[in-house]
Amino acid sequence: MNDPWHMLTLIGEDKPGIVAAVTQALFELGLNLGETSMLRLGGNFTIMMMVSGGGDEQALRARLEPVVETQGLSLHVDPIRAHLHEHVVPTVRVTVRGADRAGIVAQVSAVLAEAGFNILDLESDVAGTEQQPVYIMQIAGVASVPVDEIERALAPLREEGVEVSVSTIETYIG
Protein backbone atom coordinates (compact mmCIF):
# COMPACT_ATOMS: atom_id res chain seq x y z
CA MET A 1 0.00 0.00 0.00
CA ASN A 2 2.96 2.28 0.60
CA ASP A 3 4.32 1.95 -2.92
CA PRO A 4 5.16 5.30 -4.44
CA TRP A 5 2.70 6.74 -6.96
CA HIS A 6 3.46 7.92 -10.46
CA MET A 7 1.44 9.70 -13.11
CA LEU A 8 1.88 8.01 -16.48
CA THR A 9 1.11 10.01 -19.58
CA LEU A 10 0.78 7.90 -22.73
CA ILE A 11 -0.05 9.33 -26.12
CA GLY A 12 -0.25 7.77 -29.55
CA GLU A 13 -2.17 7.60 -32.76
CA ASP A 14 -5.61 6.19 -31.98
CA LYS A 15 -6.37 2.59 -32.86
CA PRO A 16 -8.36 -0.21 -31.21
CA GLY A 17 -6.61 -2.09 -28.42
CA ILE A 18 -4.41 0.54 -26.78
CA VAL A 19 -6.23 0.47 -23.43
CA ALA A 20 -6.30 -3.33 -23.36
CA ALA A 21 -2.58 -3.60 -24.16
CA VAL A 22 -1.49 -0.95 -21.67
CA THR A 23 -3.66 -2.10 -18.77
CA GLN A 24 -2.75 -5.75 -19.37
CA ALA A 25 0.93 -4.82 -19.21
CA LEU A 26 0.40 -2.88 -15.99
CA PHE A 27 -1.53 -5.77 -14.49
CA GLU A 28 1.22 -8.26 -15.39
CA LEU A 29 3.77 -5.97 -13.79
CA GLY A 30 1.70 -5.97 -10.60
CA LEU A 31 0.90 -2.27 -10.71
CA ASN A 32 -2.25 -0.76 -9.24
CA LEU A 33 -4.32 1.89 -10.94
CA GLY A 34 -5.68 4.98 -9.24
CA GLU A 35 -7.77 7.59 -11.02
CA THR A 36 -7.35 7.75 -14.79
CA SER A 37 -8.45 9.74 -17.78
CA MET A 38 -8.37 8.13 -21.21
CA LEU A 39 -9.79 9.81 -24.26
CA ARG A 40 -9.39 10.52 -27.92
CA LEU A 41 -8.29 14.05 -28.81
CA GLY A 42 -8.38 14.53 -32.55
CA GLY A 43 -6.87 11.39 -34.00
CA ASN A 44 -4.76 10.75 -30.91
CA PHE A 45 -5.47 8.57 -27.94
CA THR A 46 -4.38 10.10 -24.66
CA ILE A 47 -3.99 8.37 -21.33
CA MET A 48 -3.20 9.88 -17.98
CA MET A 49 -3.20 7.37 -15.17
CA MET A 50 -2.16 7.20 -11.58
CA VAL A 51 -0.27 3.98 -10.85
CA SER A 52 1.38 2.61 -7.74
CA GLY A 53 4.09 -0.03 -7.57
CA GLY A 54 6.62 -0.98 -10.18
CA GLY A 55 9.59 0.80 -8.66
CA ASP A 56 10.98 4.22 -9.39
CA GLU A 57 10.63 6.35 -12.50
CA GLN A 58 13.45 4.63 -14.36
CA ALA A 59 12.28 1.13 -13.50
CA LEU A 60 8.74 1.96 -14.64
CA ARG A 61 9.98 3.37 -17.90
CA ALA A 62 12.06 0.26 -18.57
CA ARG A 63 9.28 -2.13 -17.66
CA LEU A 64 6.74 -0.36 -19.86
CA GLU A 65 9.08 -0.08 -22.82
CA PRO A 66 7.70 -3.18 -24.65
CA VAL A 67 4.06 -2.05 -24.65
CA VAL A 68 5.01 1.53 -25.45
CA GLU A 69 6.98 0.22 -28.40
CA THR A 70 4.36 -2.17 -29.80
CA GLN A 71 1.50 0.32 -29.43
CA GLY A 72 3.47 3.21 -30.91
CA LEU A 73 3.04 5.39 -27.84
CA SER A 74 5.13 8.01 -26.17
CA LEU A 75 5.46 7.79 -22.41
CA HIS A 76 6.05 10.37 -19.73
CA VAL A 77 6.43 9.50 -16.04
CA ASP A 78 6.16 11.82 -13.03
CA PRO A 79 6.37 10.97 -9.36
CA ILE A 80 3.24 12.27 -7.59
CA ARG A 81 1.40 12.24 -4.31
CA ALA A 82 -1.79 10.22 -4.66
CA HIS A 83 -4.46 12.10 -2.67
CA LEU A 84 -7.00 9.41 -3.46
CA HIS A 85 -10.42 9.51 -1.78
CA GLU A 86 -10.30 13.29 -1.63
CA HIS A 87 -12.66 14.14 -4.47
CA VAL A 88 -13.74 17.74 -4.60
CA VAL A 89 -17.35 18.15 -5.70
CA PRO A 90 -17.89 20.94 -8.24
CA THR A 91 -20.39 23.66 -7.33
CA VAL A 92 -20.51 25.69 -10.53
CA ARG A 93 -20.69 24.86 -14.23
CA VAL A 94 -19.65 27.28 -16.95
CA THR A 95 -20.47 26.56 -20.57
CA VAL A 96 -18.93 28.58 -23.38
CA ARG A 97 -19.77 28.45 -27.08
CA GLY A 98 -18.68 30.64 -29.92
CA ALA A 99 -17.05 30.98 -33.31
CA ASP A 100 -13.56 29.53 -32.95
CA ARG A 101 -10.98 32.21 -32.48
CA ALA A 102 -7.71 32.62 -30.65
CA GLY A 103 -7.88 33.42 -26.97
CA ILE A 104 -11.32 32.19 -25.86
CA VAL A 105 -9.93 29.80 -23.25
CA ALA A 106 -7.41 32.34 -22.02
CA GLN A 107 -10.07 35.04 -21.69
CA VAL A 108 -12.58 32.86 -19.89
CA SER A 109 -10.09 31.22 -17.57
CA ALA A 110 -8.49 34.57 -16.72
CA VAL A 111 -11.88 35.90 -15.62
CA LEU A 112 -12.53 32.75 -13.60
CA ALA A 113 -9.11 32.82 -11.94
CA GLU A 114 -9.67 36.46 -11.02
CA ALA A 115 -12.95 35.43 -9.37
CA GLY A 116 -11.16 32.75 -7.33
CA PHE A 117 -12.75 29.92 -9.33
CA ASN A 118 -10.91 26.60 -9.08
CA ILE A 119 -11.30 24.55 -12.27
CA LEU A 120 -11.72 20.84 -11.52
CA ASP A 121 -12.61 19.73 -15.00
CA LEU A 122 -12.38 21.50 -18.32
CA GLU A 123 -13.19 19.91 -21.60
CA SER A 124 -13.22 21.76 -24.85
CA ASP A 125 -13.89 20.72 -28.38
CA VAL A 126 -13.88 22.17 -31.85
CA ALA A 127 -17.18 21.39 -33.53
CA GLY A 128 -18.67 22.70 -36.78
CA THR A 129 -16.76 22.42 -40.03
CA GLU A 130 -13.31 23.34 -41.21
CA GLN A 131 -14.74 26.46 -42.82
CA GLN A 132 -16.85 27.35 -39.82
CA PRO A 133 -15.35 25.93 -36.64
CA VAL A 134 -17.25 26.36 -33.38
CA TYR A 135 -15.52 26.25 -30.04
CA ILE A 136 -17.40 24.51 -27.21
CA MET A 137 -16.11 24.39 -23.67
CA GLN A 138 -17.55 22.99 -20.45
CA ILE A 139 -15.98 23.83 -17.14
CA ALA A 140 -16.89 22.47 -13.74
CA GLY A 141 -15.30 23.80 -10.61
CA VAL A 142 -15.55 25.32 -7.21
CA ALA A 143 -16.28 29.01 -6.84
CA SER A 144 -15.45 31.09 -3.81
CA VAL A 145 -17.79 33.88 -4.92
CA PRO A 146 -21.55 33.80 -5.75
CA VAL A 147 -22.60 32.63 -9.21
CA ASP A 148 -23.97 36.04 -10.22
CA GLU A 149 -20.57 37.56 -9.61
CA ILE A 150 -18.99 35.11 -12.05
CA GLU A 151 -21.86 35.76 -14.42
CA ARG A 152 -21.16 39.51 -14.26
CA ALA A 153 -17.44 39.02 -14.75
CA LEU A 154 -18.03 36.94 -17.88
CA ALA A 155 -20.70 39.26 -19.32
CA PRO A 156 -18.32 41.35 -21.48
CA LEU A 157 -17.49 38.20 -23.47
CA ARG A 158 -21.12 38.06 -24.62
CA GLU A 159 -20.71 41.33 -26.42
CA GLU A 160 -17.98 39.66 -28.43
CA GLY A 161 -20.43 37.02 -29.64
CA VAL A 162 -19.42 34.28 -27.23
CA GLU A 163 -22.30 32.43 -25.57
CA VAL A 164 -21.59 31.97 -21.89
CA SER A 165 -23.81 30.33 -19.31
CA VAL A 166 -23.08 29.92 -15.62
CA SER A 167 -25.12 27.63 -13.40
CA THR A 168 -24.99 26.21 -9.90
CA ILE A 169 -24.41 22.49 -9.52
CA GLU A 170 -26.52 21.24 -6.63
CA THR A 171 -25.29 17.71 -6.01
CA TYR A 172 -27.98 15.45 -4.59
CA ILE A 173 -26.74 13.11 -1.88
CA GLY A 174 -29.07 10.38 -0.75
Binding site: H85, V89, T95, E123, T168, I169, E170, Y172, I173, G174
Partner: protein, 167 residues
Protein backbone atom coordinates in the same frame (compact mmCIF):
# COMPACT_ATOMS: atom_id res chain seq x y z
CA UNK B 1 -33.45 6.27 18.79
CA UNK B 2 -30.38 4.68 17.29
CA UNK B 3 -27.91 5.31 14.53
CA UNK B 4 -28.11 2.57 11.93
CA UNK B 5 -25.22 1.19 9.94
CA UNK B 6 -25.20 2.27 6.30
CA UNK B 7 -24.54 -0.42 3.70
CA UNK B 8 -21.96 0.63 1.15
CA UNK B 9 -20.83 -0.67 -2.22
CA UNK B 10 -20.09 -3.50 -3.04
CA UNK B 11 -22.56 -4.90 -0.49
CA UNK B 12 -24.85 -7.14 -2.57
CA UNK B 13 -27.81 -6.36 -0.30
CA UNK B 14 -28.06 -2.95 -1.96
CA UNK B 15 -29.38 -4.83 -5.02
CA UNK B 16 -32.26 -6.35 -3.07
CA UNK B 17 -35.80 -5.26 -3.92
CA UNK B 18 -37.69 -3.98 -0.86
CA UNK B 19 -41.14 -5.14 0.26
CA UNK B 20 -44.19 -2.87 0.63
CA UNK B 21 -45.10 -1.80 4.17
CA UNK B 22 -48.35 -3.33 5.41
CA UNK B 23 -48.38 -2.34 9.12
CA UNK B 24 -48.47 1.39 9.87
CA UNK B 25 -47.66 0.95 13.54
CA UNK B 26 -45.29 2.17 16.25
CA UNK B 27 -42.59 -0.25 15.09
CA UNK B 28 -42.64 1.43 11.68
CA UNK B 29 -42.55 4.91 13.21
CA UNK B 30 -39.69 3.98 15.56
CA UNK B 31 -37.73 2.71 12.58
CA UNK B 32 -38.46 5.93 10.66
CA UNK B 33 -37.08 7.93 13.61
CA UNK B 34 -33.88 5.90 13.52
CA UNK B 35 -33.64 6.27 9.76
CA UNK B 36 -34.03 10.04 10.10
CA UNK B 37 -31.36 10.21 12.77
CA UNK B 38 -29.06 8.22 10.51
CA UNK B 39 -29.78 10.54 7.56
CA UNK B 40 -28.95 13.58 9.65
CA UNK B 41 -25.70 12.08 10.87
CA UNK B 42 -24.51 11.50 7.30
CA UNK B 43 -22.42 14.06 5.47
CA UNK B 44 -24.92 16.42 3.82
CA UNK B 45 -27.46 13.72 3.07
CA UNK B 46 -30.67 15.11 1.61
CA UNK B 47 -32.40 11.75 1.48
CA UNK B 48 -32.14 8.17 2.63
CA UNK B 49 -33.90 4.89 1.86
CA UNK B 50 -34.61 2.03 4.26
CA UNK B 51 -32.59 -0.58 2.32
CA UNK B 52 -29.48 1.58 2.76
CA UNK B 53 -29.57 0.58 6.43
CA UNK B 54 -30.41 -3.04 5.70
CA UNK B 55 -34.20 -2.76 6.24
CA UNK B 56 -35.79 -3.98 3.03
CA UNK B 57 -39.09 -2.16 3.30
CA UNK B 58 -40.41 0.58 0.99
CA UNK B 59 -39.68 3.66 3.09
CA UNK B 60 -37.69 6.75 2.10
CA UNK B 61 -37.06 10.17 3.62
CA UNK B 62 -36.20 13.30 1.65
CA UNK B 63 -35.84 16.92 2.67
CA UNK B 64 -35.04 19.41 -0.10
CA UNK B 65 -35.63 22.51 2.02
CA UNK B 66 -31.95 23.08 2.80
CA UNK B 67 -30.24 23.50 -0.59
CA UNK B 68 -27.69 26.30 -1.11
CA UNK B 69 -29.99 27.90 -3.65
CA UNK B 70 -33.67 27.40 -2.71
CA UNK B 71 -35.57 24.95 -4.95
CA UNK B 72 -39.29 24.12 -5.17
CA UNK B 73 -39.93 21.54 -2.45
CA UNK B 74 -42.49 20.05 -0.05
CA UNK B 75 -40.19 20.18 2.98
CA UNK B 76 -39.42 17.12 5.08
CA UNK B 77 -41.14 14.06 3.64
CA UNK B 78 -41.46 10.51 4.89
CA UNK B 79 -42.71 8.43 1.99
CA UNK B 80 -43.99 4.92 2.58
CA UNK B 81 -44.69 2.69 -0.43
CA UNK B 82 -44.00 5.57 -2.83
CA UNK B 83 -44.96 5.16 -6.46
CA UNK B 84 -44.33 7.45 -9.36
CA UNK B 85 -47.47 7.66 -11.46
CA UNK B 86 -46.40 10.26 -13.99
CA UNK B 87 -43.09 11.38 -15.56
CA UNK B 88 -42.34 14.43 -17.71
CA UNK B 89 -39.18 15.77 -19.33
CA UNK B 90 -35.63 14.81 -18.45
CA UNK B 91 -32.47 16.53 -17.31
CA UNK B 92 -29.00 15.68 -16.12
CA UNK B 93 -27.84 16.49 -12.62
CA UNK B 94 -25.10 15.49 -10.26
CA UNK B 95 -25.69 12.83 -7.64
CA UNK B 96 -23.83 11.09 -4.88
CA UNK B 97 -24.90 8.51 -2.34
CA UNK B 98 -24.28 7.54 1.27
CA UNK B 99 -23.82 4.00 -0.02
CA UNK B 100 -21.19 5.05 -2.58
CA UNK B 101 -18.63 7.13 -0.65
CA UNK B 102 -16.37 9.60 -2.46
CA UNK B 103 -17.96 9.41 -5.88
CA UNK B 104 -20.39 11.67 -7.71
CA UNK B 105 -21.66 11.48 -11.26
CA UNK B 106 -24.24 12.83 -13.66
CA UNK B 107 -27.56 11.07 -13.91
CA UNK B 108 -30.57 11.70 -16.18
CA UNK B 109 -33.84 11.97 -14.27
CA UNK B 110 -37.38 13.03 -15.12
CA UNK B 111 -37.85 16.78 -14.57
CA UNK B 112 -41.39 16.52 -13.23
CA UNK B 113 -43.12 13.62 -11.54
CA UNK B 114 -46.37 12.86 -9.75
CA UNK B 115 -45.97 10.63 -6.77
CA UNK B 116 -48.37 8.66 -4.59
CA UNK B 117 -47.28 7.44 -1.17
CA UNK B 118 -48.48 6.90 2.37
CA UNK B 119 -47.23 8.73 5.42
CA UNK B 120 -46.12 6.70 8.51
CA UNK B 121 -49.74 6.69 9.74
CA UNK B 122 -51.06 5.26 6.49
CA UNK B 123 -52.54 8.52 5.20
CA UNK B 124 -52.40 8.98 1.44
CA UNK B 125 -50.02 11.57 -0.01
CA UNK B 126 -50.18 12.82 -3.57
CA UNK B 127 -47.37 15.13 -4.61
CA UNK B 128 -46.28 16.92 -7.76
CA UNK B 129 -42.52 17.37 -7.73
CA UNK B 130 -40.05 19.04 -10.04
CA UNK B 131 -36.32 19.43 -10.51
CA UNK B 132 -34.13 18.68 -7.53
CA UNK B 133 -36.94 17.26 -5.39
CA UNK B 134 -38.15 15.05 -8.24
CA UNK B 135 -34.53 13.88 -8.58
CA UNK B 136 -34.40 13.10 -4.85
CA UNK B 137 -37.56 10.99 -5.00
CA UNK B 138 -36.34 9.08 -8.08
CA UNK B 139 -32.92 8.43 -6.51
CA UNK B 140 -34.48 7.08 -3.30
CA UNK B 141 -37.19 5.01 -5.00
CA UNK B 142 -34.41 3.44 -7.07
CA UNK B 143 -32.92 2.15 -3.79
CA UNK B 144 -36.23 0.38 -3.08
CA UNK B 145 -35.86 -1.42 -6.40
CA UNK B 146 -32.22 -2.38 -5.80
CA UNK B 147 -30.83 0.33 -8.10
CA UNK B 148 -27.98 2.74 -7.33
CA UNK B 149 -27.22 5.98 -9.13
CA UNK B 150 -23.98 4.42 -10.38
CA UNK B 151 -26.19 2.09 -12.45
CA UNK B 152 -27.43 5.19 -14.28
CA UNK B 153 -24.40 7.48 -14.50
CA UNK B 154 -23.85 9.01 -17.93
CA UNK B 155 -20.59 10.08 -19.50
CA UNK B 156 -19.47 13.52 -18.48
CA UNK B 157 -18.71 14.15 -22.14
CA UNK B 158 -22.30 13.85 -23.26
CA UNK B 159 -23.55 17.37 -23.65
CA UNK B 160 -26.92 16.84 -22.00
CA UNK B 161 -26.91 19.98 -19.93
CA UNK B 162 -27.64 22.20 -22.88
CA UNK B 163 -30.70 20.31 -24.10
CA UNK B 164 -32.95 22.35 -21.84
CA UNK B 165 -32.27 25.40 -23.98
CA UNK B 166 -34.03 23.82 -26.93
CA UNK B 167 -37.13 22.65 -25.09
Amino acid sequence: MALLEILTLPDARLKQVSEPVTQFDDTLRAFVADLEETRRSGPAAVGIAAPQVGHFIRVVIIDCSVTRKPVPNHGHLILVNPEITHWEGYEAGREGCLSVPDYTGNVIRATRIRLMAKDPHGELLELDMEGYEARAAQHEIDHLDGMLFVDRVVSRRTDLFQRKVYQ
